[in-house]
């Protein structure tokens, strides 16, 4: 199981949608699942995902495998401040710079 914390417009995929609370979806995940796999299972269009994706607090690319992570944080495309410009995410191979 992995806890998926959703922010901004992605909160609509959680039961709790108040932005002042935690919008969390708990979902089954295999270690080989990618972030995109998980997002797709929740119903989030890939086009709405921004670059700020965090696996157990580590900046990750959409095709990174979730491995043993227990927490996934997903921010939408209109909330991608900072990380994209500073850092190379885990599993970046399929991500264009």
């Amino acid at each position: 199981m992995i806890e998926v914390h959703l922010y901004g417009k992605l909160r609509r995929f959680a039961d709790e949608q108040d932005p002042r609370a935690a919008s969390v979806v708990t979902i089954e995940a295999a270690s080989t699942d990618s972030i995109l796999d998980i997002a797709e299972r929740i119903g989030i269009p890939a086009s709405e995902l921004g670059a700020n994706l965090f696996l157990d607090g580590r900046y990750a690319s959409p095709d990174a495998s979730v491995g043993e992570a227990t927490r996934l944080g997903l921010f939408p495309d209109d909330m991608q401040l900072l990380y994209k410009w500073y850092f190379r995410p885990q599993g970046e191979s399929a991500v264009a710079d």
């Binding site: 002042r20 921010f75 900072l82 990380y83 500073y86």
Partner: protein, 580 residues
């Protein structure tokens, strides 16, 4: 013709001087740091008559370049003892630029107990007694000064609050925003205390009859302006109703919290359980409930097309404070364990009223809480402590002199600072690149000295993993590019768009060439930034700073930070390679 205005507070004279040839192409941070380097004795006491406060609008300030209304303020810092440049978005600098004033140098020290105001117009500069406004809240001071000087449309105002009058090292220099609110700060490093030491309370600028900024090549300038405008208005972060316009910089609260890098309860943890309650999304939702409509952010200064400045509203819908920036939200919120936006709003308001740097004060409060002066999360006590600072009580003076002085007074080792300046809202144990920036910044721990500038611009190969300690080139090049942008008058937030949209970056360089008549290329951005940093480091070396000062505090090498449970482990040799 552009000139420098030299103000001697000792004998209260104001003299216009020609710009020396060596400064002919310098403005903003480049010019403030050049003048401080050339004229201020590095070993002087920051509150002595030998120190000077230098104001300079950027190359583009006062022109039609988008989001270019920054004013740089420089001096030797009473907080750090280093050179300092802090900048703010306001119409004040544009008025100076249109009057043809490239810089103001405030030197000397007035004797006696009186306070002074300087009024600058197209006829020159004059002194007026300012005792009337001493000790007031800045909202009262600004309202009164606008009334006395022809109203908001006629003038913009720079002033210090009671913290500056008390020469506290956390005192900022306040400017008004576009609506006249006294809320835009050259906040860090205690520059307000340096003005206080000279007994200069305020500078009022009226640019009626000014000739405006002369353009060397208006066609090239216009080409650049259009390219940059197109980039800013099309990019997801900077466009209307984009991330900054919608959520403000406080959008970062949830992002940095999710990354486990949001310093919480005086840098004891990297995640705050109350983050969602204080983040940009919560501000947007709270305002919507209280005002009955979606409230998008506003421009802090004329010509800004990003518009990231927010307001926070009371339950009855009236405006409580502006602006709750990410750093202020964090410093007065998560770092103090406070998850109540109304309390954060009140603390933010009081910092603005008393003329304080929100980051340093949030840091000092958190250190005081760590030392037992209050419990983490005790917002009521935090507000009382802010009033102590405003009154200048003995306890208030300890807090108002920043986190290091507070740590000494309360016997606290855990003081997250570099060179005496409290760290801002990014935990270096979780984001080691920012730790490198803190370590080697010429101004102590400062996020804006290397903020969001991609290494690709300056030809560095590839991005780095956040946990990778090999950050030397990254930190150096971030600082060079930032120093250049700080000299243009542009807000650093243009970086988001110009990093993704090459024509926007070219547009910024075209604008500069269009104003100055230079032939700069994008490669010159790094070269010029490097020159600025070299000047600043030269000042600091003469002031006695060495590589041993480029270090993070020891507790960070020993205390693992949850949730990543990492320590600061970047080798000293790697830090020293940045400018080595």
């Amino acid at each position: 013709m552009e000139r420098i205005l030299r103000i001697d507070m000792t004998d209260r004279t104001a003299t216009f001087e020609e710009i020396p040839e060596r400064y002919a192409r310098r403005a903003g941070r480049w010019l403030t740091s050049s003048i401080v380097h050339d004229e201020v004795p590095p070993e002087c006491h920051p509150l002595s008559a030998e120190n000077k406060v230098v104001f300079s609008p950027g190359f583009l300030t006062g022109t039609a370049a988008p989001t270019s209304s920054r004013i740089s303020v420089g001096a030797k810092s009473p907080l750090t003892g280093t050179i300092k440049e802090a900048n703010a978005g306001t119409g004040w600098g544009g008025r100076l630029a249109r009057l043809g004033i490239r810089a103001i140098i405030v030197e000397g020290q007035a004797s006696g107990d009186g306070w002074w105001l300087i009024k600058i117009t197209s006829d020159g500069a004059g002194f007026e007694p300012a005792d009337t406004w001493a000790g007031q809240r800045l909202s009262e001071t600004y309202a009164s000064l606008f009334d006395a000087h022809g109203g908001r449309q006629s003038v913009d105002i720079c002033a210090i609050g009671s913290a500056g009058e008390h020469r506290m090292a956390a005192a900022g220099v306040c400017f008004n925003d576009r609506e006249g609110r006294p809320t835009r700060y050259a906040g860090r490093g205690g520059l307000g205390a340096v003005l206080g030491s000279k007994r200069l309370k305020a500078i009022v600028v009226d640019d009626s009859g000014a000739q405006g900024v002369q353009l060397s090549d208006p066609v090239l300038f216009e080409t650049g302006r259009k390219k940059l405008t197109e980039a800013l208005t099309s990019h997801d972060i900077t466009k209307p109703k984009g991330a900054l316009n919608c959520y403000g910089t406080a959008v970062l609260v949830n992002i940095i919290n999710e990354a486990g890098a949001l310093p919480t309860r005086n840098f004891r943890e990297g995640r705050f359980e109350g983050a969602s309650k204080i983040a940009g999304e919560a501000i947007f939702a709270g305002n919507k409930e209280r005002t009955g409509g979606e409230l998008y952010n506003h421009a802090c200064s004329p010509g800004c097309i990003i518009g990231c400045s927010n307001t926070w509203h009371r339950p009855d819908g009236s405006e409580h404070t502006s602006c709750i920036e990410y750093e202020s939200d964090w410093a007065l919120g998560a770092n103090c364990g406070i998850d109540d936006l109304d309390a954060i709003g009140e603390l933010n308001l009081l910092c603005n009223e008393y003329g304080l740097d929100t980051i340093e004060i949030g840091g000092a409060l958190a250190v005081a809480m760590d030392g037992g002066a209050a419990s983490f999360g005790d917002a009521k006590r935090a507000i009382e402590l802010l009033h102590e600072i405003g009154r200048g009580s003995p306890l208030g003076r300890i807090l108002g002199n920043g986190a290091v002085v507070t740590g000494r007074a309360f016997g606290v080792e855990r003081v997250p600072h570099v060179k005496g300046q409290n760290m801002p809202a990014y935990e270096p144990r979780a984001i080691k690149g920012i730790g490198m920036t803190y370590a080697v910044s010429t101004m102590g721990a400062d996020h804006t000295s290397g903020y969001t500038i991609a290494p690709e611009i300056l030809g560095v190969s590839g991005k780095l993993d956040p946990a990778d300690p090999n950050k030397a080139e990254l930190a150096r090049n971030f600082q060079y590019a930032t120093a250049f942008i700080d000299s243009t008058g542009h807000c650093l937030f243009i970086a988001f768009a110009i990093l993704d949209i090459a024509s926007g970056f070219e547009g910024m360089v075209d604008e500069c060439n269009g104003v100055l008549g230079t032939k700069w290329t994008p490669e010159d951005v790094g070269r010029i930034g490097g020159e600025i940093i070299a000047l600043e480091r030269s000042f600091n070396e003469k002031a006695g700073f060495t590589a041993l000062d480029d270090r993070l505090p020891g507790f960070m090498t020993r205390e693992p930070l949850p949730p990543h449970n990492t320590v600061w482990d970047v080798p000293d040799a790697e830090i020293d390679k940045v400018h080595g």
